[in-house]
Assembly symmetry: C2
């Protein structure tokens, strides 16, 4: 509700195409800027500019705007490039791990770790260091930003050195959106479904206590 009210109160709405389309019923009569993927810095700068011009601006994200999202980028730009009089409000949301897990049962009922597998801004060594720590610490693990299948396979192989082949693995694509795909498999068999994995997919790997109930 906070997000809906914020968008209603805005006169400018900026966001990645896909997300702006999901709220088309809320943005009638507003100035709307739809941008493409990989234009995050442009979007954040434009939001700041419009706000400095006196507009009330909503910068729309999927999931939660902090988790590998635009919120920290906006704060960073304000910090480095000025605009410190602006006090952006961050409205939390349902991050992909929670949405995916709700479709799978409730695997996030135990301690969990969220790890970004994109190696665009972080190097492979740092990613694998995190995966190893989470696997060794028996965390339920949610993997985000599955851009590189090589990195994913490396991460899953590393997790497999800590956990048995029967450990449940959930694969969820487009949770709560068109084209939703939900599958439960395990560490021994997950590779069969590698083709189902894309940028909109979250993988959840159970820990030593996770169990599958009624096959779903």
């Amino acid at each position: 509700m906070a997000a809906i009210n914020a968008i209603r109160d805005s006169d400018v709405v900026i966001g990645y195409n896909t997300y702006v389309n999901l709220i088309s019923d809320l943005i009638n009569g507003k100035e709307v800027v739809r941008s493409r993927m990989h234009e995050e810095v442009m979007r954040a700068r434009l939001a700041i500019e419009k706000a400095l011009d006196g507009h009330v601006v909503s910068l729309v994200s999927g999931g939660d705007p902090q988790v590998y999202g635009l919120a920290s980028l906006v704060l960073e730009l304000l910090n480095k490039e000025g605009g410190l009089d602006l006090r952006p409000t961050i409205i939390p949301g349902v991050t992909a791990a929670l949405a995916a897990a709700a479709r799978l049962g409730a695997p996030l009922n135990m301690d969990f770790a969220v790890i970004n597998l994109s190696n665009l801004l972080v190097n492979d060594e740092e990613i694998m260091m995190r995966v190893k720590a989470a696997a060794g610490g028996d965390f339920v693990i949610a993997l985000y930003n599955l851009i590189s299948k090589d990195v994913l396979v490396k991460a899953m192989n590393l997790i497999s050195t800590f956990r048995s082949a029967s450990t449940p693995v959930g694969i969820v694509r487009n949770a709560y959106r068109d084209g939703e795909f939900v599958l439960t498999t395990n560490l021994g068999n997950w590779m069969r479904y590698l083709e189902a994995v894309d940028m909109n997919t979250t993988l959840i790997i159970g820990n030593s206590r996770t169990y599958v109930y009624r096959g779903s």
Copy 2:
């Protein structure tokens, strides 16, 4: 919105007092069961019973219903005690780490780990094993269920062996609710605010890259 619609469509609403009071405008004319803390199993059983009687039941949680919440308890009871024809829908929510982090800036923009510090169902060794793994893996850490100040101090001391005294620590109580309290301090000084910590508090400890901007 999914949660609001689900509650509207229910004829029975069950929940912990505090959370049911937050949705009083939605539950007019429904059968409402308000229960006290520590009656989780009773609440889950009652929800199943009422659903088996043919009612549409909402079991209301704070935050996300999976994260140390009732969703997995319901599934477990269905699995063990029958009622498998029921197919409960889990509606994800904003878990405390995300709500707290939104108030602090956006510290969850990097890989993070969520750890339950309650030692009612998990022993201290397992808790500290997780804390150590998360601290060693340079995860941003969110600490939940701060029932025991002894366990909290032990956990923070352990984290301090991995991170410098200047590492940012956020303390957030009752995020987005009455009596909200938000404070940014660091690993060297956080103990001064130990009295502010209660069951409704989430602690967020930054990693090696977290920084404080404009003192908030």
